[in-house]
Symmetry: C2
Subunit: 204 residues, 2 copies
Amino acid sequence: MRRGDTKQQFLLAALKLFAENGYDSVSVAQIAKQVGCSAPALYKHYPSKKALFDAIVEASSNGYEERMKRINEAIFNSGNSERPFTEEGQIEIVKNLFITTVSDEYPKLFREFVLSVRSKHPELAKIYNSRYIFSQYELYQKVISRLIEMGVLVDNDAEMMAIEYISPVTLWVEACSREPERKEEFLSLLEKHIRHFFIVYGKK
Amino acid sequence: MRRGDTKQQFLLAALKLFAENGYDSVSVAQIAKQVGCSAPALYKHYPSKKALFDAIVEASSNGYEERMKRINEAIFNSGNSERPFTEEGQIEIVKNLFITTVSDEYPKLFREFVLSVRSKHPELAKIYNSRYIFSQYELYQKVISRLIEMGVLVDNDAEMMAIEYISPVTLWVEACSREPERKEEFLSLLEKHIRHFFIVYGKK
DNA sequence: GTCTATATCCAGATAGAC
DNA sequence: GTCTATCTGGATATAGAC
């Protein structure tokens, strides 16, 4: 690990611990131990435990913006601009969304952090709904509108279709954070769901 | 408040506080203050903070069983046995499910308790998935199978239909715990969703 | 920038009077 | 069964040497 990264290491260690245990349950000493330092070292980088917390909130926001930009581009500006708007393309994209969201990386940790510490920062509750529920609806309403325009799906209420399409996936992401060992089960349910959706709404 | 209820009052106060703030963030003194006692009084009823926690877990389990029994009976053994299997009956039942689950009573508190303190009791994570996601799927798969048998809905994959039917509702219950002020918005979305579902799957 | 030692505070839990 | 007073441990945060 490079020198000068210590500040970032503290942030990552705290993110992990807060995400798993909440804010009050985690001591500064625990965070420092993860990094291989003693507690007072942390105070050279952050003036208080709360300041470290706030730094994570900010980082989570940046991480989210970037991630959404990448997802949007992957769907709407990909090299192969047809692929995302086929049944197989959608299965690939949504499975991918699921996997990166639940895998042991920043998106997962940020998501669980927001959930675990929301009582320490009331605004986080709204952030969770907005990011992980309603933004998804908006994104997939655009996807489904496009699928309707292209004649892949029948013309129907795109908002309601998006809700039925992506709500189960969002719910399985949450379920999978709680029971990661069931990941494969959720993935196969997810594929079954999308195929069913395309049968119901697909144009013959 | 009747004498002899003190033990129950401690449990209710702790349930509320743990549900909102998690386990470590709540002190025994806070719980006692809610009841109008000092902290040591609690130790006459529960040997430790952890024992109080365990008592809540147990009570939540009992509460859940009873609630599910009532919901099942309301659907399958109601006086008017046709009503639950019509579009209007379903709107009524699901709205009711939503309202009681998010309103300020035991079901709400138990649900939020399980979510907030799950890091203190790993089994609770599985309990949440089972109670609030997969049991719902099972229940509504039975409802939809019946609706298909009765010729109200077209014959299709009842499992996938149940998932599309109830997942958005479950998600809005969670969203509504975080933003209760949006309850009416979620309720009208819920009605729109059910009407859409009956349009898509309803027999002409 | 990191350590050891320490100040300060507050938590869970107990003792003993009433 | 409830109180006040208290014990004990562990938390955040600081002081000062290196």
